[in-house]
């Protein structure tokens, strides 16, 4: 009786979550005010993080809340403030032809049929991963897949992140010198006090997430996005990199994650192993080394993507 009640309650919760997601997505797209649309999109990301928890995917929930909702939202809002005009009221629409509706209905039918025809129970690769956990050097399956079994994907993903920043920098104008910045920006002292209290805490949380990733939900991407959030906060408070740090030290920090990954991946080949095939005895340490470098670079890269401009080296250099 009690179990059945819990079951029904959980199903209602799932139904409510799913409906909230669909409504938020629709309102976010159809909002007359773009600012409102972006705020609704951030809310959508946070509700999606709840859905990940209901689907037993706490790693994805952490990444979604920090990157999907938080950083994407910050990027969207800062872009909106740079646009020629932020007003799109009523939303400019093209007429929706019959063809579009035919396409959507057909796609809905095909995707719906494909999902309904899948078996209700499927092991997938869960057993394979579980049987190989002893060889991975870590105790958390998602970290094992990300950094060991499918390390190649993660290596390429680091390269994608770096590539996005290179493309953004080559398109964006160089930042004004730091003196001009300081005059333009006035930050409330309360925000600055909060900033001083939050930064050490965020660095601590990032370090914890990095360390705990070896045996529980967490890891380099979640930790890196918390670091990036600290960087975004610093940028919003008017902090800029000093001129002497904005040159090659910054670039070194940005490539550190990818470089460390490639270096470790290649170094294990000296012992006769394949690319990214870590020796069993030191796999855990190597993964932590890669993750630490990756966390630092991910945080720095995402924060630089938020600032949107190549930092100036300042008058000193």
């Amino acid at each position: 009786m009690g179990a059945a009640m819990t079951e029904a309650g959980l199903f209602l919760l799932d139904l409510l979550l799913v409906l909230t997601l669909l409504c938020l997505a629709w309102w976010s797209l159809a909002a007359t005010d773009l600012f409102k649309g972006i705020v609704l999109f951030i809310a959508f990301g946070l509700v999606l993080a709840l859905a990940w928890v209901r689907l037993d995917a706490p790693d994805v929930a952490l990444a979604e809340a920090a990157i999907g909702a938080g950083l994407t939202g910050a990027l969207l809002l800062t872009t909106l403030s740079k646009l020629a005009s932020s007003i799109d009221n009523p939303p400019a629409k093209r007429s929706s032809p019959v063809l579009l509706w035919v396409l959507l209905v057909m796609l809905a039918a095909v995707l719906g049929y494909a999902i309904m025809s899948l078996p209700q129970q499927a092991q997938g690769l869960a057993d394979t991963v579980a049987s190989q956990m002893g060889n991975s050097g870590v105790e958390h399956p998602v970290t094992a897949v990300l950094l060991n079994f499918r390390g190649y994907d993660t290596l390429l993903e680091m390269a994608v992140l770096l590539l996005a920043l290179i493309a953004a920098w080559s398109l964006a104008p160089r930042a004004a010198t730091s003196c001009e910045m300081d005059e333009a920006l006035t930050v409330s002292p309360i925000v600055l006090a909060l900033f001083r209290m939050l930064i050490p805490l965020m660095i601590l949380v990032a370090a914890y997430l990095l360390w705990v990733g070896a045996h529980a939900p967490g890891g380099a991407f979640q930790a890196g996005s918390v670091l990036a959030a600290a960087g975004v906060l610093a940028l919003l408070c008017g902090k800029r990199l000093e001129g002497r740090l904005a040159g090659w030290p910054l670039r070194l920090g940005l490539v550190l994650g990818t470089a460390m990954f490639v270096a470790v991946a290649a170094a294990v080949m000296v012992g006769g192993a394949h690319l990214l095939q870590y020796p069993l005895a030191s796999a855990g340490k190597l993964i932590l080394l890669i993750e630490a470098a990756a966390t630092f670079s991910i945080g720095l890269t995402l924060a630089m993507l938020f600032s949107g401009q190549r930092p100036s080296r300042g008058p000193a250099s």
């Binding site: 994805v60 646009l83 629409k93 796609l107 309904m116 690769l125 990300l146 949107g308």
Partner: protein, 102 residues
């Protein structure tokens, strides 16, 4: 209806909503929002289907989705930089339709 199926179908719904928004709305920022919602729909389908294996969900799709979220934010950041440049160069926030251009 089982939980994974419910969420997977919601993922299909998000994909369709995103595709509709991508095609119908002209403002480029709305198109970027729509692409992100479409991507979230794909992630929802993947993670929902990973939940079918009972007590411990399949970790491989989870790792794929975490990778996907980071790649999505990279692509979004690049698209937004392009949008700012386009807006600064033309003073407009939407692209011309081929049929209406002079």
């Amino acid at each position: 209806m089982s939980t994974p199926l419910l969420y997977a179908l919601a993922g299909v719904g998000l994909c369709l909503l995103g595709l509709y928004g991508l095609i119908v709305y002209a403002h480029l920022l709305r198109k970027i929002l729509a692409l992100n919602i479409m991507g979230s729909g794909v992630f929802l389908i993947l993670v929902a289907l990973a939940r079918r294996s009972g007590d411990s969900p399949d970790p491989v799709p989870h790792a794929m989705v975490i990778t996907g979220i980071v790649v999505a934010v990279s692509a979004t950041a690049l698209a937004l930089v392009l949008l700012v440049r386009f807006s600064a160069a033309t003073g407009r926030n939407q692209l011309d339709d081929d049929e209406h251009s002079p």
